[in-house]
Amino acid sequence: MKIVTFACNWCSYAGADLAGVSRLKYPEDVRIVRVMCSGMVNPAWILRAFRQGADGVVITGCHPGDCHYMVGNYYAKKRYLLLKELMKFVGFEDERLKLLWASASEGKKFAEEMDSFKKLIEQLGEQKQLRWTP
C-alpha cells in the first residue's frame, strides 16, 4: 500500500513530528509530503498521485480556525469536497481520499488516523481505478 499524505508545515507536519517524538507507531505506507498549507494542495497533485499508483491520499491541515494563514484550510476543504464529490460521481472509491485536521499537538491523533486509514485502504485493496498502466 502507498499512502501519500500532504501535511501542512505548521500543524500537521508538526503533529507528525510529534508522533515521532512520542515514538507512536504507524504504518510505513504513510509517506508525508511537506507543504506550507493545506490550502496549497492542488487537486492535480492528488489525481497525479492516484495515477502514479497511490492507494490513498490524505490531506492534512490545521483545525478550522487554526490555519497559520487564517483560511487556507477552508480552501483546502472546499477543493477537497469538490474533488471528492466528483470522484464519487464517476464511481471512484472516494474513501481513498481523506481530509484530516491534525494540530501540532495531536501526534497521537495523527498516528491513530494514519493507522485506521491504512486499515481502510487495506480493505479496499490496491487502487487500480486511476493507476497508470501502459
Binding site: 487537486p43 492535480a44 489525481l47 497525479r48 492516484f50 495515477r51 478550522p64 483560511v71 477552508y74 480552501y75 476543504k77 472546499k78 469536497l81 469538490l82 474533488l83 464529490e85 466528483l86 470522484m87 464519487k88 460521481f89 464517476v90 464511481g91 471512484f92 472509491e93 485536521w101 481505478q129 486511476l130 493507476r131 497508470w132 498502466t133
Partner: protein
C-alpha cells in the same frame, strides 16, 4: 419583422467595428460563427441550428465588437468579463431569448442533411424546408438535451434583447438519478465513456472558460525559456502524457471539469464538439449541483467561486 431582421437592425444600431455573428455555412443547413465587418451585416443568419458559443471568439478581437448571444452565450460573456478576459464597454450584445437549439447529430437521423435548405421553429415543431417539400419534427425530439436543463434561456447581460424573456430552471433530477446507481454501475458507465475519448481536446478548445494558453494536462511546457534547465524541461508531462487510455482520460476530464466548478455556463459546446459524444455536461452539472447545494454559490455572484471563502461543515 422576423427575428433575423431584428438582429440585423440591432447590430446596425451599434457602432461596433466588428460583428461576431452566425452565418449560414455553405453546403450545410447549419450556421457557423464568423467575424464580419459592419457592412457585412446582411450576411448574418440565425436559426435553431445556430449552435455555437461566440464568447471565445470575442476574446481574440480588439476594439468594439457587436455580438449575437443566446442565453448561455451571454452567461459565458459575463463570466469572461468577471474574469477580466472581456471588457463590457467593448461589447454590444444583441441578446436572444433562446428556445433551445437543435442537436445536429440527432437531426441527421431524421433527414438527409444535404436535402435541407432551411430550418425554422414553429410552435412545438421544427420545420425543415427541404429541397422538395417540407418536413415537421417535434422539436423535443431533436432539441439539444442540454437545453432541457437550461437555467438561463434569457441573456443575463445584453444591450438589445430580442424575444420575450423566458424562465430558466434548476433541475438536477438526471444527476440525482445517476447518483442513485451503485458505485460499480457509475464507474462502469464512466469508464466506458472515457475509454472512447481520443483526447483531441476539442471539449477544452471550444469551452469559453478553457482559455488558458497552457492547460494543466498539456504535456509540454509553454513557460520554457532559454533560462530553463533541462530538468525543468524534462519534468513534463505535468500531469498526463498524450497517452489515451480510460484512466488518463478520466483524470483529464475530472481535472478539466474541476476547474469549471462555479464557472461552467452550460452552453454545451463541449458535448457538441466531442466527436466521440462523451456526456461531458453531466460532469459539469454534477459540479454545478455541488456548488449550488453544498456551497450555496450563485453564478451571478461577483466573486469567482474559487476565490470565495466558504466555511463548510465543522
Amino acid at each position: 419583422m422576423n427575428e433575423i431582421e431584428k438582429i440585423k437592425d440591432a447590430l446596425k444600431s451599434s457602432n461596433a467595428e466588428k460583428i461576431v455573428a452566425f452565418v449560414r455555412k455553405e453546403s450545410e443547413p447549419r450556421e457557423v460563427l464568423k467575424v464580419l465587418s459592419p457592412n457585412e451585416v446582411d450576411k448574418i443568419s440565425f436559426s435553431p441550428l445556430s449552435l455555437n458559443n461566440p464568447a471565445k471568439l470575442l476574446m481574440q478581437i480588439n476594439g468594439k465588437v457587436a455580438v449575437v448571444a443566446k442565453g448561455c452565450d451571454s452567461m459565458a460573456i459575463r463570466q469572461l468579463i468577471k474574469e477580466g478576459k472581456l471588457k463590457r464597454e467593448n461589447l454590444f450584445i444583441v441578446g436572444i431569448s433562446c428556445k433551445g437549439v437543435v442537436d445536429y447529430r440527432k437531426l441527421a437521423k431524421f433527414v438527409n442533411l444535404s436535402e435541407v435548405n432551411d430550418v425554422e421553429l414553429n410552435g412545438n415543431d421544427l420545420v425543415l424546408k427541404l429541397k422538395n417539400g417540407e418536413k415537421r419534427i417535434p422539436f423535443l425530439e431533436v432539441v439539444d438535451e442540454n437545453c432541457l436543463y437550461c437555467g438561463h434561456p434569457t441573456p443575463v447581460i445584453y444591450d438589445v434583447l430580442i424575444g420575450e424573456p423566458r424562465e430558466g430552471k434548476r433541475d438536477f433530477s438526471d444527476i440525482e438519478q445517476f447518483e442513485r446507481l451503485s458505485r460499480e454501475e457509475r464507474w462502469n458507465y464512466w469508464i466506458s465513456q472515457f475509454e472512447r475519448c481520443i483526447r483531441c481536446h476539442a471539449c477544452r478548445s471550444v469551452c469559453p472558460l478553457c482559455y488558458c494558453e497552457e492547460c494543466m494536462v498539456d504535456p509540454s511546457n509553454l513557460a520554457v525559456s532559454p533560462m530553463s534547465t533541462p530538468e525543468e524541461k524534462a519534468s513534463y508531462p505535468r500531469i498526463l502524457g498524450k497517452t489515451v487510455n480510460a484512466r488518463d482520460n478520466t483524470i483529464y476530464h475530472l481535472l478539466r471539469v474541476l476547474h469549471h466548478a462555479g464557472r461552467c455556463v452550460g452552453c454545451g459546446e463541449c458535448e457538441r464538439a466531442c466527436p466521440m459524444e462523451l456526456p461531458l455536461r453531466m460532469l459539469e452539472r454534477k459540479l454545478e449541483k455541488v456548488v449550488v447545494e453544498i456551497f450555496g454559490y450563485d453564478l451571478n455572484e461577483d466573486i469567482p467561486f474559487f476565490s470565495k471563502l466558504d466555511i463548510v461543515g465543522d
